[in-house]
Symmetry: C2
């Protein structure tokens, strides 16, 4: 049942647009879901997209606007007058409306708001715009159905009908008192089964999870996931019901955050995608590579500082990439575990315990790897003393790398910096440098060159 | 409003259990959400958890069972008789019930199913168990409200009341024909606003997304995310409505998949968490480290094969870790972009175009990095010929690394293997080896040693 964009479909649309066949184009898009239309518009040329948008009614185009990728949307909005933008905004739900207005250039924002038809809607949008994007206030919409505790079931159904007219769909009915404080929710089930003169306060469910406007998206995602909620009400400091957050917005947030963490671990800044332009892809990749290059240059300097080893122990240099790679791998593993633990809030217990645990794990892993390296090094004909020196250094390097990988993200997190920054190239590069230095230093001490 | 497990709380619970104070313990847990109780039970000792479970009623304990971590649940189920397990299963919704039964040892499965009280429920559970875990059939539950197109609104409301009795909450009402084929959905809004003698077929919404029992969880997640759905109906090959999937299960799936990809990129097999035992953490980490070690040993052999360079061009060895690190970083970037693109189904266009694009990006990134390396190498006093050789090799290595990083995941994906396997240590290690070989080989040709 999902619409698939095929190359043939895009080709056909493009041909009809070139032929200026408005009727055929309109016919194609009329039956499609706005999210699918947005996908098509993201694929075709910008002036072709504008051609299509001009053919559709404002209810559809506002939904399309909401679904477009941010850069396409920005270009489309530039084409529209403030009046036209206001018309689109009038059709949107408050949360989407606030998000799109916030993307406009400073000077257009006020003009658009001033031209909104529905003043109540405008007030809600302005209200939403003052919240931080990643807070409950920033995620919530104003669209909801609320009934009062003193109403009867009959009155409730009547009022619900009225309130529901402006909504796409009703998933939950909130119960408030006369001052608007959130008391609980009314289940559709009890509404269907209760007698008509029953009072809401006798049948509502008071056990309800809610969040405060300032709560962070991470916490909201966690609560909604844990308690399997589709919708969660948002209250202000005085427990007044001010909006609600639907799970679809939270799903998008979870997905975006996961993508961001993954990209940071892989050394990609910005939100790059395979189909971005070459320029965007370079911008997302080059900075981390330059960081890695400077790390590499530093290790060149370190190794040239130990060049007296070239005489009797030249094989040490053959092992440098191995040591650097192991330091990098161990560091990435440790930091990934911590970053995920921090994200899922399962990093508990004292720092000392964690330190002991990491040292323990590294000692065991290091010993296994060290035995292997000593064995092979000896097989390569490098002698016991040399082989054991490499093995011993490897253990020390692994412990160091694990500690750096563990504590750098913890410290960043405590300082309020995203710990995911510490994974990937950052940890790999610093561990490469530390690893190579420790390796040559210990070799110098042990082999006495 | 979210319950936080504090150290003090755990301490208090443990003390009350030691004191055998059933009344106080029961009082603490009675008011708590099953998901919170499960979190506490995951934290305390196993026999303490059993003590708590024995105090609670079967409706609560079944919900707790569903929320427990798999290993804790397995241990709890071992303590229970098949009769007791059947009682718990009777309380659960079909999808959770089927998942939990599937975790039991082969020989207990049949015994438990035979002892289920509600035979209709048992039939539904058995039906669900035949689907693959990651398919629509495996994710769906049998609990839903369906009404017939020929019913009036009055009859519909009456039937909904009956069907809703077994459900926690009603989010969507499906419309089917007499043979059970899915036709669409009835909005709560139209139910509230339509006249009582209106027929369902005159007010239902026929435009509904659905999935087939065999559809994969990835596709379902994508459809539900794209169209902002909270619930999606599942139909069989003949379009009969057989179940429905709620977004909470899909959110869990999305989160698990993202975690898995992240862990694979970081070189972690198994699902390891920061608070796992040392043994589990080692099991999750050591295999990839051993792979890395063998890669490192291979590069030792490669470099010892070029040891004639030690005479006139010893500085080449100082650059080996830099070359390996750059090859690794570039490879991880390329593969991460492809893995995410494949996951989000945005890898379109021909392989040749992608190849050209990667070569283009690598040429530009490589040129920038190469200029930097030539500059610094010359500053280090290594001469023009040597510096340019390193710079040129770096460009070649970067292009090679980008191509490996791009095409290994694409090829794995085409062969039906999870492309995420190709990120992290696998790509890093193979690129280290290729990189070092290419570097020394080119240096040998260019510098003529």
């Amino acid at each position: 049942m999902q619409f698939e964009i095929t190359k043939e479909f895009i080709q056909k649309v493009k041909q009809l647009i070139v032929a200026n066949d408005s009727i055929a184009v309109a016919k194609i898009f009329q039956e499609m879901h706005p999210a699918d239309i947005a996908d098509v518009l993201d694929e075709i040329e910008f002036d072709e997209a504008v051609f299509v948008i001009r053919l559709l009614d404002s209810e559809t185009t506002s939904d399309i606007l909401e679904e477009l990728e941010e850069d396409t949307r920005e270009k489309v909005l530039e084409e529209l007058s403030t009046k036209e933008i206001a018309e689109e905004i009038d059709e949107l739900e408050t949360d989407a409306a606030a998000d799109i207005i916030a993307e406009l250039p400073e000077e257009r924002i006020e003009q658009v708001i001033a031209q909104l038809e529905d003043k109540e809607h405008a007030k809600d949008i302005v209200d939403l715009m003052r919240y931080d994007e990643d807070s409950a206030g920033g995620l919530m919409g104003k669209e909801l159905v609320a009934v009062k505790e003193n109403w009867t079931v009959t009155k409730t159904v009547k009022e619900m009908r009225k309130q529901a007219q402006d909504l796409d769909e009703v998933y939950i009915v909130y119960v408030v008192n006369d001052t608007g404080e959130l008391l609980g929710r009314l289940s559709l089930k009890s509404l269907l089964t209760a007698k008509t003169n029953t009072l809401v306060k006798d049948v509502y469910i008071s056990d309800i999870h809610s969040v405060k406007t300032k709560d962070h998206a991470d916490d909201i995602a966690q609560i909604m996931q844990k308690y399997d909620l589709f919708v969660i009400p948002v209250v202000d400091e005085l427990n007044h019901l001010v909006g609600n957050i639907t799970i679809d917005d939270v799903v998008d947030y979870i997905k975006d955050e996961a993508d961001k963490d993954y990209q940071m671990a892989a050394g990609l800044t910005d939100d790059v995608e395979a189909d971005d332009t070459i320029f965007e892809l370079i911008k997302g990749r080059l900075p981390w590579l330059i960081l890695g290059l400077f790390g590499g240059l530093l290790s060149v300097l370190i190794m040239s500082g130990f060049d007296e080893a070239l005489i009797a122990n030249k094989e040490l240099f053959f092992f440098a990439p191995l040591i650097a790679a192991m330091a990098g791998n161990v560091g990435v593993q440790s930091s990934a575990i911590i970053v995920q633990g921090l994200a899922n809030k399962i990093i508990k217990g004292s720092m000392w315990k964690r330190l002991l645990k990491e040292v323990g794990i590294s000692l065991i892993n290091g010993t296994v790897l060290s035995i292997l390296v000593v064995f092979f090094s000896y097989q390569f004909g490098l002698g016991w003393l040399f082989s054991i020196t490499v093995g011993f250094s490897l253990i020390v390097v692994i412990i160091m790398a694990a500690l750096v990988g563990t504590f750098v993200p913890i410290i960043l997190d405590k300082k309020g910096i995203d710990p995911a920054l510490a994974t990937g190239p950052f940890i790999t590069t610093s561990n490469d440098i530390f690893g190579i230095f420790i390796f040559f230093y210990l070799a110098k001490v042990l082999l006495g060159f």
